[in-house]
Symmetry: C2
Subunit: 341 residues, 2 copies
């Protein structure tokens, strides 16, 4: 296997990315052994241990891939997908395959050893701006249909390096999960003539039991059907299908909300491993004027999910897609509100 390959699970309608590249990563086979006790490839001065940077916040006139930066975006050294290939599916016997086409980038969020939530709010906003810039740039490649942004913090959340970073993966198709979520939001819109996300925020403010934090731009909730203990979701008040429509003001407000609730989570759970995932709209919603694209624009809204990872997904979750949670979101939200006096 030279080139990564995408293969479809015909019954789940999901795809697996096969990438031998990634087998070379440290600690693939042995959990919780991290190479970075020895060497941090993301530290200042180690710029040569990553592929050349795509984007960075650094002093004017400073040289690319030299120290002095505040954050850097680099191609993943062990990419799951590659920029070469065609975005069409092909038969493989009775199955379906596709070139492992895409992009896989790493946002090194800071030159310090601090986690994201301990950085100044303006810096967090600037990192979110890096997400936006990279999404806008990757959107120009019309072979990409969806861009997933996520952050793994801690071994239990799948991080192999402890230096604060997030990842951006551009995919040549829209995942079934995103299609399903958009379809359900669109059904609500067709039924009610109203935006699900608007009604969600109105309802949550009415019942006032699951809100953890709000500012003028964003509302952070413990979701009604939280899958994980102390799960949170951040919704923008200004509804938009795609994250990349955020203004600078939006990103500042988002950074404030994100930092506020991550710090509360750290206090409540003693610095747990966590994931942040961006549930973004598909790229056709910003590119096209087809009825389908317009419907997504009318009914979908990007949001962030924050999932503390205190355990692992077991056979029940794998076999049903359901989750078991031991704490109601009302109780989690109250705890997160009260943890800072």
């Amino acid at each position: 296997m030279q080139q990564p390959e995408l293969r479809r699970d015909p019954l789940r309608d999901t795809w697996t990315i096969f990438s031998e590249e990634r087998r070379r990563r440290p600690s693939e086979y042995h959990f919780q052994q991290s190479a970075d006790a020895v060497f941090d490839p993301f530290a200042p001065g180690h710029e040569k241990s990553t592929p050349p940077e795509i984007l960075a916040l650094r002093p004017e006139n400073s040289e690319a891939n030299s120290p002095g930066w505040k954050w850097r975006v680099v191609p993943n050294r062990y990419p799951a997908l590659r920029i070469e290939g065609r975005p069409e599916g092909r038969p493989d016997g009775i199955f379906d395959a596709m070139d492992g086409l895409g992009a896989h980038e790493v946002v090194i969020e800071t030159c310090d050893s601090l986690p994201l939530e301990k950085l100044p709010v303006a810096h967090v906003a600037s990192v979110l701006g890096a997400w936006k810039q990279r999404i806008l740039d990757l959107t120009k490649d019309v072979r990409f249909q969806y861009i997933c942004v996520f952050k793994n913090h801690g071994p239990l959340a799948g991080a192999t390096l402890s230096h604060a970073h997030s990842q951006i993966v551009a995919l040549p198709l829209v995942p079934e999960l995103i299609r399903r979520m958009c379809t359900n939001a669109a059904q609500y819109f067709r039924w009610k003539g109203r935006h699900w996300f608007r009604d969600l925020l109105l309802h949550e403010e009415q019942v006032n039991k699951r809100v953890v934090f709000e500012n003028s731009g964003f509302v952070v909730l413990c979701p009604y059907a939280s899958r994980f203990l102390f799960e949170m979701a951040i919704y923008p008040r200004r509804l938009s299908a795609n994250f990349q429509t955020c203004t600078e003001h939006d990103l500042n407000q988002l950074a404030e909300a994100l930092q506020a609730v991550l710090l509360r989570m750290n206090l409540a759970l003693e610095n747990p491993a966590y994931n942040i995932t961006l549930l973004n709209g598909p790229l056709n919603a910003v590119r096209e004027a087809t009825p389908e694209a317009l419907l997504i624009r009318d009914s979908w809204c990007w949001h962030l999910e924050i999932t503390p990872r205190l355990g692992t997904l077991a056979g029940f979750e794998l076999g049903t897609g359901f989750h078991i949670n031991t704490l109601l979101p009302e109780d989690a939200a109250r705890h997160l509100r009260e943890v800072i006096g």
Copy 2:
């Protein structure tokens, strides 16, 4: 929260079980701390530390809940769901909830400290027979729509106790995952006039690259779109929508296949944590003669998935439902075939 509650995620169309009961379990908050270094509640002589047994393999005339058994089925002491309640959904503001109605049982697979795969094949067959008996019995409760059987082995696979056991959960609804898989199998049947699972086995025998083991009753494959390293699936040659139609002969053959490939997996991966999940047909397929039920009977086939757990699911998997795998199933299957000379 007295009674457990089911709550629907409106966009994913999945449900979360909220059960405060389960918070009392050892090691809920702190990963990989297991109570059973101290005390094994599943060991012979400790029968009083589980709820009274529902079923057991024990000498004739021996008293229930006394030692001497070979396996026992008991209610889970920390049940996710309870037998009381109504199977109807209800509105909860803009959301949907349901009583946490169901059953949650534990199959204590052996009186020894051995893992399932090291037990005699006849014993493994007998444990699979316990699964069958419990499914048949739970099917009588018409409030249940789906029965999930799974096994967690090792902390990374979600096991909180190391004594070999599997679990049976009866649900008052059919999970979206199972509905989706059945729908896709049914679409194939309508399009081709043939059974997906029949074509799958014919195709896999033709290409002969992903078969790990076969006997007269079963074929074990590394699936084409394997989500996990060294993932395997066991398919019956005699197609049937529901596991509980297995004959004693089938269960013997299944036990042989299961044991053969678990031992190979242990050799290849040095005794990894793993899950086994039963992808069973919904209960309407055995209860009803509606067109929908008949279509499932025509097009679905139960099977087992074996997923070694060498890492954790990270933000990419949570945010897309896709997986990244670093080894093609053809290579995994060859390795598993060759690991025993």
